[in-house]
């Protein structure tokens, strides 16, 4: 198609834009960050988004809303591939009578971002069919918008009344249809989230999820805190991917300051990140085996999970890799020979993991439960912007480590396994193969650790930048703005679980009740990560 972005290079972008929207769109190029900024009026937003997305390679990352004294600043962040890494669309609108056109019809991945913005900021997106009742549950009064700067984050709890007329928004209107409630307290050790499964008795026709039971307001409470404090928040809002998120945060802060971390720090960061990925994937495999009630396989995977927890615990001092990242590098150094030892242990774990894989592949009763169940097609994955092992199981070869290399990943040779089935078994296979690749990366990096410092000198600077990471569950984007006084002014977290929970209903619908927990286990998402 004409004017496709494929032909447009970074340099020719201003001309291409000027040709399409003469005089209406302002283009700024940030060469250091390979970022293109388009500033325009809100009326042009749907057009530009359509143009940006219909070209191959650009995907929606996040929507950042910042409050300035007299106006809102909305930043739609898209990411591409090397060449043009980031594309930001900036809107500035006055605070009265805000009416931004919704782009959820064009970029469906923006759906939940817009709903969250409406709930927490009060910005209305015209044309969005389902605003409201998203983050804040029904007992919050309508006019309270926590993310506005006027709202005090340290307000004490005030008792609120439940609305007796509140009804969940039901979609199935067949006679005899009802909603089966699941949660928020499940019948197992599980995170708190609520689902209403609309059904007429056998199959789940539609799922109505209710999340944000674990909403801790990380974005709000981080405003005004020093960076050292916010690192803790970035680590601990999702304890099972602590290192990845703190890495993204630190990268954003380092980007703002223009500081490049030492090579040794980068290499060790890769080792630690892959250790975390390895642990997460083994835990996810254990979860899948547990959901199908294959006890011995669950126990086998559980043994491996505990062993890697002990490995990371003895290696870094904390089983979940807390307290390791800081802007400029790591908080502690590691012995080279210890790193090699860890790589060996990881390789042995992978051997035993694949023995388990060989057994699972030939257990038909197990495969029956996950094969052809919970299917997400490639088109659906693209439309919803899914990320992580789930997207890779549906045929999307998206991995930020390859697409937007960070932290030295461009120097490491590894494969990104992709499956096309889109069902639970495909996701399981992706998990196994990615774990294998992680162990391989660890070995490579441990064998070639560069010498040097573990952290460079660091001075905070003011500004805003995007940090990203391929967390174990998928792509995570952290937008950080640091004020002049060195505190965090705005911290926007978009986690992979948030992106993927949006697409969960695609997999769960039109399957029987009994498949629901298994489909959830094959997705392996975290509510803590999604709710923040």
């Amino acid at each position: 198609m004409e004017n496709s972005m494929d032909e447009t290079t970074f340099q020719s972008l201003p001309d291409a834009v000027a040709k399409r929207w003469p005089g209406q769109v302002q283009v700024n190029l940030d060469v250091r960050r390979s970022t293109c900024l388009l500033t325009c009026d809100s009326r042009l937003l749907p057009d530009i988004c359509e143009w940006v997305c219909s070209t191959s390679g650009f995907r929606f990352a996040t929507l950042v809303v910042e409050e300035e004294p007299a106006q809102w600043l909305l930043r739609y962040v898209f990411y591409g591939r090397s060449g043009i890494v980031q594309l930001h669309i900036l809107l500035r609108t006055a605070k009265e009578n805000v009416a931004i056109p919704s782009i959820s019809g064009i970029v469906h991945a923006a759906d939940w971002h817009e709903r969250e913005t409406e709930d927490l900021f009060g910005i209305i997106f015209t044309g969005h069919p389902r605003l409201g009742d998203f983050v804040l549950h029904e007992e919050w009064p309508e006019d309270v918008k926590p993310m506005r700067s006027a709202f005090d984050a340290h307000l004490p709890y005030r008792r609120r009344e439940l609305d007796p007329e509140w009804r969940p928004h039901s979609i199935v209107q067949s006679p005899g249809a009802f909603m089966m409630p699941i949660g928020p307290v499940y019948s197992d050790v599980a995170e708190s989230a609520h689902f209403l499964l609309e059904t007429v008795g056998e199959d789940v026709i539609r799922t109505i999820p209710r999340f944000f039971y674990k909403y801790r307001g990380v974005e709000k409470i981080s405003e005004g805190l020093p960076v050292e404090q916010v690192i803790l928040l970035s680590e601990r809002f999702s304890g099972t991917s602590a290192f990845a998120h703190s890495l993204a945060f630190c990268q954003a802060v380092e980007d703002i300051a223009g500081v490049d971390t030492p090579l040794r720090a980068k290499a060790l960061r890769i080792v630690l990140a892959e250790l975390e990925r390895l642990r997460h994937h083994i835990a996810a495999i254990a979860g899948i085996c547990g959901s199908t009630a294959l006890s011995v396989a669950t126990s086998q995977a559980g043994i491996l999970e505990e062993e890697i927890l002990r490995l990371t615990g003895s290696f870094t001092g904390h089983r979940y890799l807390f307290g390791l990242n800081r802007p400029g590098g790591l908080t502690r150094d590691f012995n080279n020979s210890t790193c090699l030892q860890v790589a060996d242990d990881a390789a042995r774990l992978i051997e035993r993991l694949f023995k388990l894989n060989d057994m699972l592949r030939f257990t038909s009763s197990f495969l029956d439960r996950i094969e052809e169940v919970g299917i997400v097609s490639r088109e659906q994955a693209i439309a919803y912007g899914l990320v992580g092992p789930i997207a890779r199981a549906s045929g999307l070869a998206r991995d930020l480590r390859k697409a937007l290399p960070y932290c030295g990943y461009e120097t490491v040779a590894f494969d990104v396994p992709v499956e096309t089935g889109g069902d639970g078994y495909a996701r399981l296979r992706v998990l196994f193969h990615e774990a294998e690749q992680s162990a391989r990366i660890i070995r490579k990096m441990a064998a070639t650790l560069p010498d040097g410092e573990i952290a460079g000198p660091f001075e905070y600077a003011a500004g805003g930048a995007l940090g990203w990471v391929e967390a174990p569950r998928g792509a995570a984007f952290h937008w950080v703005r640091i004020t002049e006084s060195g505190t965090v002014g705005r911290y926007r977290l978009t986690s992979p679980s948030f992106i993927n929970w949006h697409g969960f209903h695609l997999a769960a619908e039109d399957f029987a009740f009994q498949d629901f927990p298994i489909i959830m286990a094959t997705f392996g998402l975290s509510n803590a990560e999604s709710d923040r």
């Binding site: 019809g105 469906h108 199935v172 209107q173 009802f178 699941i182 007429v200 008795g201 539609r206």
Partner: protein
């Protein structure tokens, strides 16, 4: 006390007076007057028929002679007495119920005409049951059909009701014609019209005529019973009537068809081949299966009960069929047992179906609708009704110690007795039918668990269900009476079976009392009628324990198995009832003592931590029965299954609507093809109507030619 004859006359007088009084009483008082007089007439005929049934006093009344066709007479033998007794047993509580129930129709419909129809219907039913000649029988049968049509059509403002009534009348007339033909065929052979002469002349009939009589009477009376394929009027007509009339339709009028079948094929022209019995058995089983399948997936309570009536009638018919087969194969005792089971089931069904219909009528009166998907939680606001409906549901689901259990169990046991038959094909048919009946029993449990749970338990699903109030005592007392009767019939089978036995012995010529309920407690060794091994088994069965404690003869037993183990089955609901009461009572006492010091706290049901459990989040009746719908999809064949209409806006699914239309399997497989065939034939014939006068003239010429040819050839 009173003589049967005078009681009968009193009954007829009361019916007449009732009709007359209803015609003149103002609408407001009419229901009360109706209930008083109808109750009195019910008591009268109850005493009269009871006299004949229990004590054997015959009743005969010769009306007048009809030219040369023989006398018009009324005669009540024990079989008729049984049916009359059951009729009156149902009429009594229904009449009491009507006092309060009919008040809601004041001003909307004419209560006077209701009263007239009601009394006349009672009289016509009893008269046709005691009719002893063809004319009286057919006259009263027609009267009964028309009166029941008028009662079904009572709420004539609703077009659905008028259509249902019309369908019922049309099919009823078709059945009546067939039955009348059968009777007239019989009369033709004998030359006279009274039943006694018909019976006497039956021995000399030829095969084709026998078959004709059987088929005509079976399918003719089968329309009234509601057998496949003539059951399509039932699910429409029974819900269309008012609650008390539905109870009568299901509990009393359906039995009349059975009476007709029995009278013709067991009494007047006893079958002499196995094949007709097999046909009866198979038709009964199919009806039972079809009935319960549609009952399980039905959400309207009355429609569900109507389908369930089809099922129960099917079970009775299957029992009759088994009896016919045994009788014609030379096993009169087994035939007697089969007939006993069928008639026991008839009695039980009349009682518990009436109970259920009265209960559903109470719910309808209190709330205004009967849709299970919008009820729920009624047990909190209508505890008495809930209790009685629960008793009814337990009976119909055939759970001990209630009456449904005894009759269903006996029916299934007779199916098993097919081992004594010689023909392999017949045994296979019996095995299949027995399995199908067991399936219907299981589905019946599902159906009534759903019915009771969705309506009475759980959370109220609509505002009307939340604000319902309990019905008045006048409506609760009759339900209680019926529930008590159900319980008594369940725990005292050893009293009931000899009574039934006396009614059917004239048909099978062998008494089954000793085979089914031997004198357990009084028998001694050396009694000539029973073998030693048999008497020895009694000791194992606990004869010593129950002596003096249990009523009647103690156990229901079937013997004549092998020499060593003569007892084939034995059960005592009386025993189990006593044990049940002791266990429950004992458990209650123990629990009270053990938990005396413990604190008992009441909390709302655990709902997973929801903010509020809403009615939308509880199972609906449709959802509960969906597995049955899916498993038996071949039967239901919903024509637009899962017709999903989705409104999609981009990737947002706004609404999903699943439509489901289904056509009843009998309609689909029997009537629609017939209608299609007739239409096809009509369209073929329509081609003859070319419109050209020349062709019509040619038709006339050709037909004239053919007639002359035939005349010429016949010469």
């Amino acid at each position: 006390m009173f003589e049967t004859n005078s009681l009968f006359i009193l009954f007829l007088l009361l019916c007449g007076i009732g009709a007359a009084v209803s015609a003149v009483t103002p609408g407001r008082r009419n229901p009360t007057v109706l209930s008083w007089i109808a109750s009195a007439s019910a008591i009268a005929i109850l005493l009269a028929s009871g006299d004949t049934l229990f004590f054997g006093h015959p009743f005969q009344l010769r009306l007048w002679d009809l030219f040369s066709f023989g006398p018009l007479a009324l005669r009540m033998d024990r079989l008729s007495a049984l049916f009359v007794f059951v009729t009156a047993l149902v009429y009594l509580p229904v009449s009491i119920y009507s006092a309060a129930y009919m008040k809601e129709y004041l001003g909307r419909y004419s209560l006077r005409s209701f009263g007239i129809y009601y009394h006349l219907l009672f009289a016509s039913i009893v008269l046709l049951l005691v009719a002893a000649d063809v004319v009286t029988f057919l006259f009263c049968w027609e009267l009964m059909s028309i009166l029941s049509y008028l009662l079904v059509n009572y709420k004539h403002e609703d077009e659905y009701n008028t259509q249902a009534g019309y369908l019922m009348l049309a099919m009823s007339e078709a059945g009546t014609i067939a039955a009348a033909l059968a009777l007239l065929l019989l009369a033709g052979t004998s030359g006279k019209l009274d039943f006694a002469s018909l019976k006497a002349a039956s021995t000399g009939m030829s095969e084709p005529v026998r078959w004709a009589v059987f088929l005509l009477s079976f399918f003719g009376f089968g329309v009234k019973v509601g057998l496949v394929p003539s059951n399509i009027w039932l699910p429409r007509a029974h819900p269309a009537a008012t609650g008390n009339v539905s109870a009568l339709l299901s509990g009393v009028i359906l039995n009349l068809g059975l009476y007709g079948i029995l009278r013709v094929n067991a009494d007047m022209l006893p079958l002499n081949q196995v094949a007709p019995g097999i046909i009866v058995l198979i038709v009964g089983t199919i009806s039972a299966l079809v009935g319960i399948l549609y009952a399980t997936t039905e959400n309207d309570m009355k429609k569900m009960l109507a389908h369930s009536s089809i099922e129960n009638m099917g079970i009775m018919t299957a029992g009759l069929g088994a009896g016919f087969v045994f009788m014609t194969s030379g096993h009169p005792v087994l035939a007697g047992i089969a007939f006993t089971a069928a008639l026991y089931h008839m009695t039980n069904h009349a009682l518990y179906k009436a109970l259920l219909f009265l209960g559903v009528g109470a719910v309808d009166a209190s709330i205004g609708h009967r849709d299970m998907d919008r009820l729920g939680g009624l047990i909190k606001v209508m505890p008495w009704t809930a209790f009685f409906v629960l008793v009814g549901a337990l009976c119909i689901a055939a759970l001990p110690p209630f009456n449904g259990f005894v009759s269903e169990w006996l029916t299934l046991q007779t199916m098993l007795r097919s081992a004594v038959l010689s023909s392999k094909a017949v045994k296979i048919v019996f095995a299949l039918c027995g399995a199908a009946l067991a399936l219907t029993a299981a589905l019946a449990v599902t159906c009534f668990v759903k019915a009771f749970a969705m309506s009475f338990l759980g959370v109220s699903r609509s505002q009307s269900a939340k604000t319902a109030i309990e019905v008045k005592p006048f409506m609760r007392v009759p339900m209680g009476m019926l529930a008590l009767c159900c319980l008594l019939l369940g725990i005292l089978p050893t009293y009931v079976i000899p009574v039934l036995d006396e009614a059917i012995t004239p048909l099978t010529h062998e008494s089954v009392s000793n085979a089914l309920v031997p004198p357990f407690f009084t028998i001694t060794q050396g009694d000539a009628k029973f073998s030693d091994a048999f008497i020895g088994e009694f000791h194992d069965l606990g004869a010593q324990t129950g002596r003096g404690l249990l009523p009647g003869r103690g156990l229901v037993v079937l013997h004549q198995g092998t020499e060593k183990n003569p007892v084939v089955f034995a059960m005592s609901t009386s025993y189990s009832f006593v044990v049940l009461v002791l266990l429950l009572g004992g458990a209650f006492v123990v629990v009270r003592r053990v938990t005396k010091e413990r604190t008992v706290s009441r909390r709302p049901a655990w709902d997973g931590g929801l903010r509020r459990l809403m009615p939308e989040m509880t199972y609906t009746a449709t959802g509960f029965s969906n597995p049955v719908r899916v498993i038996f999809e071949a039967v239901f064949r919903p024509s637009t299954f899962d017709d999903r209409k989705e409104t999609i806006a981009g990737h947002f699914r706004m609404a999903i609507k699943n439509g489901r239309e289904q056509v009843h399997i009998v309609d689909r497989s029997v009537f629609l093809p017939i209608v299609k065939a007739i239409q096809w034939a009509a369209s073929l014939l329509g081609r003859m109507h070319t419109g050209s006068v020349n062709i019509y003239a040619a038709y006339v010429l050709i037909s004239l030619f053919i007639v002359l040819m035939i005349q010429g050839l016949m010469r």
